[in-house]
Amino acid sequence: MKKEYLKIDKVVGPLIQVSDVDSVFYGEVVNIVEIATGNIKKGKVIKIEEQHVVIQVFQNTSGLAAGNSIINFTGESFNLPMSLDLLGRIFNGIGQPIDNGSEIFSAIEANINGRPINPMSREYPRNFIQTGISSIDTLATLIRGQKLPIFSGNGLPHNELAAQIVRQAQLGDDVDEPFGVVFAAIGVKHDDEKFFRKSFGESNVMDRVVMFVNYADDPIAERITTPRCALTAAEYLAFEKNMHILVVMTDITSYCEALREISSAREEVPSRKGYPGYMYSDLAALYERAGMLKNQKGSITFLPILTMPNDDITHPIPDLTGYITEGQLVLGRDLFQRSIYPPVSVLPSLSRLMKDGIGEGFTREDHAEVANQLFASYSKVQEVRDLSQIIGEDDLSQTDKKYMAFGRAFEAEFLNQGADESRTIVDSLDLGWKLLAMLPLTELDRLSPENIEKYFPKESQVE
């Protein structure tokens, strides 16, 4: 039975209030039909107080007023039809096709909010994904089923990096394990969306990509549903269809801003910088949908991208993200300005899952030690650089001068690589050894004698 109402009491930003409503449920989807044009807007019940209901409208609310629209309660939750036909298609942020293709028809429908995965049902992710990028593979290894965000800044090449990862990443163990990409664009410029679409086309994966796009000039309330639609599709493909899915999502910052705008329209008590107090839980409801399951082949690997306002990593958006995700790849403006691509700032970058996915049988036995040593030595480079700022490079000790040289080479050769260059993990590790050999052996306290014996490049050994 459909329930229709005429009376809109109030429109506040993306929210409308309706009175005298009976027996609707929390989370129910509503259609708002503009009488004059027949245009339908979608919304969802987000608060019920006796007979009063607050509806969050996913499209633009301008023009909505008492008397010009019919509110139609559908009696349904926000569900999307799920099928393999999603692959190769493009949808808007509420899951409607925008590629002139047909609607998706399927008996299988899924609620876009998803449900928490039982920790008992999860499989702890352990499989190494080679991205072909030295800094990532060696120092912040991506693991299948991981959620690893890219913390970027405006104007930094995060899109290029994400596209390169999509192109180069080997998701499955065998060639015949099906993989796919779910791409969600939240509040992005048309250019950025086009860039990704072109890049997917060039790497011939377009027929394995599902895109959900909310442009910068699209309604902000739709930004709330965009990632949920995308993750629902990802869950279906991964856990029902056994595919390895890489979810790329940009820009989480636009998502959080939409959250803030709606929260303020609801007159909620804000927490830091005006963002709602529940932003942590809200983001977690997205990020935690990544993972692997026991006795299931498929996986969801999640690469959300966010731009840090003012490059500030303590801003609530990167901060709360970092508290939920399994590490982060941080891009640095200084590296970018020195034309180093990808400008991965390795010290604040971290992959928490790499410990179990590297080493003998996964990458190579020396991986952990090389990574530790590179971190330790490069962090010492920062100290030496600070010192040389004060006393001048010439007055540095012999050892410190070697650190300066090591730092430059590390950035120019190890971090820096071509946008189309894919290095194997063995190449990356060997390169790491070659650079470490620029330092005196006594400084390399994270390397074991056995590995030094085996991998230390003999000819370049000084002293």
Binding site: I48, E50, Y124, P125, Y280, E288, Y323, G327, I390
Partner: protein
């Protein structure tokens, strides 16, 4: 008990706002009563009563609820079923076993699964120690059940009951629902004692009295055991920004500390971290019992994507379980990762109640809630006459990694050990990234006798001396940053050298290394003592006018840096050899200078 008329006791949902709903017709409900909500019978708890309007926090997803649906009372506050069957298992924030939920729904956690708790069908071998005619006071033990390979569950008279034993069942296999002992109380009422009893989570379980804690919780982690020890029955906080090592440290403590029982609460954190515990713990052998560490562990999981009201409850669920085992006379250690998520859950509920916020949106009662929580730690004489303790170690996740925010600041007021994690140390991969200048332990004084008796008479003195060196280093490094190391006098450069050994060779501890992940106290002490020996040797050399550059023997230094890996935990003779090596090198060197 008065029988309440059914329709009178029914509340009617009148408003829904996320996890907070309101109901009409709720006069007969009680504050903090557990209720079931709506057609799906979601579990909730009454948190405000005003006239006939009740406000309820719901522990499950509320999507799909309608105004007009029914709220039913359960007649009791949110309570746990305390009995055998908790160890080795993982529960959600209101003690529902996740393994059971998985049987109902293999992947995702659905709502409306109802009130599940510990297994009611499992048979346990019970030995009944009470005899007819015995007088049993509250908390007295009336029987024993081997709950796991390493833990005897002592069946206790509930804390609010006492009386004379009327009859007992013979030893044998029983479920937690079976009557084991009949007890007649003062009023001549008969009570049936079973293996399990109910206890409300928000009420601390009573004890005979609190006593001073004089024994450390040995964790096998050098920076904790030697530098910032935690007393059994004490409180500690581990604050740190994301990725600094809170969870790793908590996991290390859960794995290796010498408590009898571990209660680990994943409060608003990652699902994979709980999965990791479930996968790893059964494989790890407790150095003391020789059995898997899972045998002594209870897990509570409310991951960050699970309902937020149950997050608020999970902390109380955990601490109530801890109290239950404490009352059996066990030393319980409880880890809560992260208490900040609990505080944020309080904030979210408070916001939905439209309460007046205090700092950063947190409710004004945040400090008192934090205090109440940590006050449930302690070393006690139990009602049953045993000694038991609860040590609480809470992780704190400060917004922006800045310790001057309300949760960190208020936690600091109520805990005695503060293990401050440092982003810069974590960036440099110095793990555990516990900052030795900012951290402190308030237990050094009361534990010093223990250390002197059980480790070495000069243990605390040695610790103080080494910390002092680190403080000196900090000052010197500030100078080095201005002028470079070369201009420092030799004795100061020697301090820098030794401090580096303390930092890299001693304080850094590799959780992923078999030998280093857990280190016995004897080795912890001996390592530090060896560093001191080296330090003093160098100072003797300085007195002879030997420059630091000569004193620095790379071979010896590198032996110190690697001693954590090269010296086996059970054979410290390598450290004596190191001392011999030092002697022979420096004696020769000194000789050259003396001549």
């Amino acid at each position: 008990m008065a029988v309440i008329e059914q329709n009178q006791a029914k509340g009617i949902i009148s408003s829904i706002n996320g996890p907070v709903i309101k109901g009409r017709n709720m006069v007969s409900f009680k504050m903090r009563e557990m209720v079931t909500v709506g057609e799906k019978s979601l579990i909730g708890e009454v948190i405000v009563l005003e006239g006939d309007i009740g406000t309820i926090q719901v522990y499950e997803e509320t999507e799909g609820l309608k105004v007009g649906e029914v709220i039913l009372p359960t007649g009791r506050p949110l309570s746990l079923n305390l009995g055998p069957g908790m160890l080795k298992n993982m529960f959600d924030g209101i003690q529902r076993p996740l393994a059971k939920i998985q049987e109902v729904s293999p992947i995702f956690i659905p709502e409306g699964i109802g009130l599940l708790s510990i297994d009611e069908a499992q048979l346990w071998e019970a030995t009944i120690t009470a005899k007819p005619g015995d007088i049993l006071l509250a908390g007295a033990v009336f029987g024993l059940v081997k709950e796991t390979e390493v833990i005897q569950n002592r069946l206790m008279v509930p804390p609010n009951l006492s009386g004379t034993v009327v009859s007992v069942v013979p030893d044998g296999s029983y479920t937690i629902k079976d009557m084991l002992v009949k007890l007649r109380d003062e009023k001549n009422d008969i009570h049936e004692l079973k293996m399990a009893h109910q206890w409300p989570v928000r009420t601390p379980r009573p004890t005979a009295y609190r006593q001073e804690t004089l024994v450390p919780l040995i964790t096998g982690q050098r920076i904790i055991d030697i530098f910032f020890p935690i007393a059994k029955g004490g409180t500690a906080a581990i604050p740190g920004g994301f990725g600094t090592g809170k969870t790793m440290t908590q996991h290390q403590l859960a794995k290796w500390s010498d408590a009898d029982i571990i209660v680990y609460i994943g409060c608003g954190e990652r699902g994979n971290e709980m999965t990791e515990v479930i996968e790893d713990f059964p494989k790890l052998i407790d150095p003391r019992s020789g059995k898997s560490i899972m045998e002594r562990t209870v897990l509570i999981a409310n991951t960050s994507n699970m309902p937020v009201a149950a997050r608020e409850a999970s902390i109380y669920t955990g601490v109530t379980i801890a109290e239950y085992y404490r009352d059996m006379g066990y030393a319980v250690a409880m880890m809560a990762d992260s208490t900040s998520r609990w505080a944020e859950a309080l904030r979210e509920i408070s916001g939905r109640l439209e309460e007046m916020p205090a700092e950063e949106g947190y409710p004004a009662y945040l400090p008192s809630r934090i205090a109440e929580f940590y006050e449930r730690a302690g070393s006690v004489q139990t009602l049953g006459g045993d000694e038991g303790s609860i040590t609480i170690i809470g992780a704190v996740s400060p917004a922006g990694g800045d310790f001057s925010e309300p949760v960190t600041e208020n936690t600091k007021r109520f805990v005695n050990v503060f293990l401050a994690l440092d982003k810069n140390l974590a960036y440099a991969r110095h793990y555990p990234a516990i900052n030795w200048l900012e951290s402190y332990s308030g237990y050094i004084k009361i534990l010093s006798d223990w250390y002197e008796d059980h480790v070495a008479p000069d243990c605390i003195e040695l610790r103080n001396k080494m910390i002092e060196l680190l403080y000196q280093e900090n000052k010197l490094l500030e100078m080095v940053m201005l002028v470079g190391e070369d201009v420092l006098p030799d004795d100061q450069r020697w301090v820098l050298e030794i401090a580096r050994i303390i930092k890299v060779g001693y304080l850094q501890q590799n959780a992923y290394n078999k030998e280093d992940t857990y280190v016995p106290l004897a080795k912890q002490y001996a390592m530090l003592k060896a560093i001191e020996y080296f330090y003093e040797k160098g100072r003797a050399g300085l007195k002879l006018g030997i420059p630091t550059s000569q004193l620095k023997n790379q071979e010896i230094i590198s032996a110190f840096i690697k001693m954590k890996y090269t010296i086996p935990n059970d054979d410290l003779s390598g450290l004596d050899e190191l001392k011999n090596q030092i002697d022979s090198y420096y004696d020769a060197l000194f000789k050259r200078y003396q001549d």
